[in-house]
């Protein structure tokens, strides 16, 4: 990177941190620290909600996913607008009426202390681990690309976030997220615009190339329970995930509880409902355009440059060079046929187009086979190497092809995204520990100032834990899926508890508490055996379904326990 890039990168990051600290200077009380003094308008809330959900993983992994598998991942977000409407009608008015700091306070009001504590603990476990991944995921990739030490990168991201989150609380998180969203979307749109400019063909032709090669398959109406992403898993499984994430995850609830009024909070959520699909579309579409770009300019046979450089310096170099030139030959043949296909599209020759389409698919298969062989070489050379390189696709493109200055801005996008989601997480972890555990069960009477101080300390401790976890975590198969999987394992039970609270008024705390414990154990077992060879009992379920299953299990088991205990009491 050039010095202009470094100036842009560090200038952006440090000015955001300084702005967050400056805007929230002075003494704050408990309400000010935990809810931002309820001063936020709807668009600040909307941007804050979007920035919280858009982690660095979103910007690193998503274009790579479109490059590899096409835009089908977009269907994951189809349940989101419906979830936003349901939450606006049901959850938010109740949180407002009860004037709660955290979502879990409501559960004590409705059930009892143990249900509130259990739900808060489930949240803390799930979100605490996820906070580590939120820092670790971009760190591993950024440290590789920039040649930095992994621990240094973890500590850098973690420390920058801790500075303004501890000092300014919820308000600091929200005001910085506005700047971060501007950097993120501005940088991505600029990058997308440049990819299209760099293409040697017109935009319409690029769409045909991407489409014919299966990269624009945005919607799949075929129902298949083992499919990770289709229309049905999006509007059902993902709907449950989003209801739980936005309705019961304190890192999101805290964003809209800071609204000036119920109206502002509702509008913030609805803004997210309207803009999230277009936003994800843009990010995935950039990935699809990077794919088209690499149909005209030869892509690296393996996107992790550090690993290929190691290969070149090893005894395996001749084999690697042979594979690389074979990859180049297939690339040239494919490029020539793409031109033939474009001519056939212009001539409206359907038969020819379909013939070339089949040829292109076989070229793709050959290239994939060569890539697999290179991955085997990478493993032979370094048995600990990560062979999945989709997370490197976008940043490799940025480093190799974008102009000076923009490279720094794109790195600022990734760091900003890492900071924005980590900040919300640490803010929520600190608040929940203070309000639901410390103030409720450990030190019940103390001054407002004491709890603000405690909240700052807990935020700091969670931040340190996240850095420590990030330092010792090992790379998951796919980063974005690791976070979603972790959420799916716990969110179902948490959502089930809240839905029982809202809609099954005849069920008491004891029944829902036992039901939540049983359901969580069943979900963990279901995941443990998922895809395992169990003879005729083998099954394969996409993890998004855990949300729906966990939620329904809590509701059914709670209803059963309540009915049985009621019958038992009547009998006595």
């Amino acid at each position: 990177m050039s010095y202009i890039d470094w100036i842009i990168l560090f200038g952006t990051l440090l000015s955001i941190v300084a702005y967050g600290v400056y805007k929230t200077r002075g003494k704050q009380d408990m309400e000010g620290y935990l809810t931002g003094g309820k001063t936020m308008n709807w668009w600040t809330i909307g941007l804050s909600i979007m920035a919280t959900q858009a982690s660095a993983i979103t910007f690193l992994s998503t274009p790579g996913q479109a490059y590899e598998d096409g835009m089908q991942f977009l269907q994951f977000y189809l349940g989101l607008p419906i979830a936003m409407i349901i939450l606006s009608v049901t959850f938010i008015p109740i949180f407002y009426r009860l004037k709660v700091y955290t979502a879990y306070e409501f559960l004590e009001n409705r059930f009892d202390l143990k249900t509130r504590t259990l739900t808060a603990l489930l949240f803390l476990i799930q979100r605490g681990l996820a906070a580590g991944i939120t820092i670790y995921a971009p760190s591993i990739i950024l440290s590789t690309i920039l040649g930095w030490n992994l621990t240094f990168t973890n500590v850098l991201i973690g420390l920058l976030v801790i500075i303004y989150t501890v000092s300014g609380g919820t308000k600091a998180v929200s005001v910085t997220q506005k700047q971060q969203m501007a950097v993120m979307m501005g940088g991505m749109i600029l990058a997308g615009f440049l990819v299209i400019q760099y293409l040697p063909i017109g935009f319409g032709e690029a769409l045909h190339v991407a489409g014919k090669m299966g990269k624009l398959d945005t919607i799949d109406f075929n129902f298949n329970i083992s499919d990770r992403y289709n229309f049905w898993s999006g509007i059902t499984g993902a709907l449950f995930l989003f209801l739980s994430y936005f309705g019961t995850d304190q890192s999101q609830v805290q964003r809209y509880l800071g609204g000036k009024s119920l109206t502002e909070s509702r509008l913030g959520l609805l803004m997210n409902g309207l803009l999230k699909i277009p936003m994800q579309f843009i990010i995935l579409f950039i990935g699809a355009m990077v794919f088209v770009f690499y149909q005209y300019y030869q892509p690296p046979v393996f996107f992790n440059k550090v690993q290929t450089e190691k290969l070149i310096e090893s005894d395996l170099a001749p084999e690697y060079t042979r594979l690389e030139s074979a990859y180049g030959e297939v690339f040239e043949a494919k490029k020539a046929d793409i031109q033939v296909m474009i001519a056939a599209i212009k001539a409206e020759d359907e038969v020819k187009v379909n013939q070339i389409k089949e040829k292109l698919q076989s070229y793709q298969a050959s290239q994939e086979q060569i890539r697999d062989e290179v991955k085997e070489l990478v493993l032979q050379n370094d048995p600990n190497a990560e062979t999945r390189d989709t997370d490197y696709v976008f940043m490799r493109f940025v480093m190799d092809h974008l102009p000076k200055g923009l490279i720094g801005l794109l790195f600022a996008v990734i760091f900003s995204a890492a900071m924005s989601s980590s900040a919300s997480e640490l803010n929520a972890l600190g608040s929940t520990t203070t309000v639901d555990l410390y103030r409720r069960s450990i030190k019940k009477t103390a001054s407002d100032g004491h709890y603000v101080k405690s909240s700052k300390w807990f935020t700091f401790l969670w931040g340190s834990f996240a850095i420590l976890f990030a330092t010792y975590a090992s790379l998951f198969e796919n980063l974005i899926q690791a976070v979603n999987l972790l959420g799916s394992l716990f969110y179902g039970a948490i959502l089930g508890i809240f839905l029982v609270a809202f809609y099954m008024k005849w069920i008491g705390g004891r029944a829902v508490f036992i039901a939540a414990l049983i359901s969580e154990a069943l979900i963990l077992m279901l995941h443990w055996f998922n895809g395992e060879d169990l003879g005729k009992y083998s099954y394969n379920i996409g993890f998004l379904w855990y949300n729906a299953i966990g939620c329904i299990l809590v509701m059914l088991i709670a209803a059963l326990i309540q009915s049985v205990s009621k019958a038992h009491i009547l009998k006595q």
Partner: protein
């Protein structure tokens, strides 16, 4: 604690039902557009 009256009215439209309907229309429109996008270029 009652929610204040100003909280019960959405901006731009008369009722919250209309507001939710607007979001739903946006959602359905995006599905139609995505389907059209897929069919047109695949």
């Amino acid at each position: 604690m009652e929610i204040e009256d100003k909280d019960l009215k959405p901006p731009f439209v008369k009722t919250w039902k209309q507001m939710y309907l607007l979001v739903l229309i946006g959602f359905i429109l995006s599905i139609v557009l995505l389907y059209w996008f897929k069919v047109s270029y695949s």
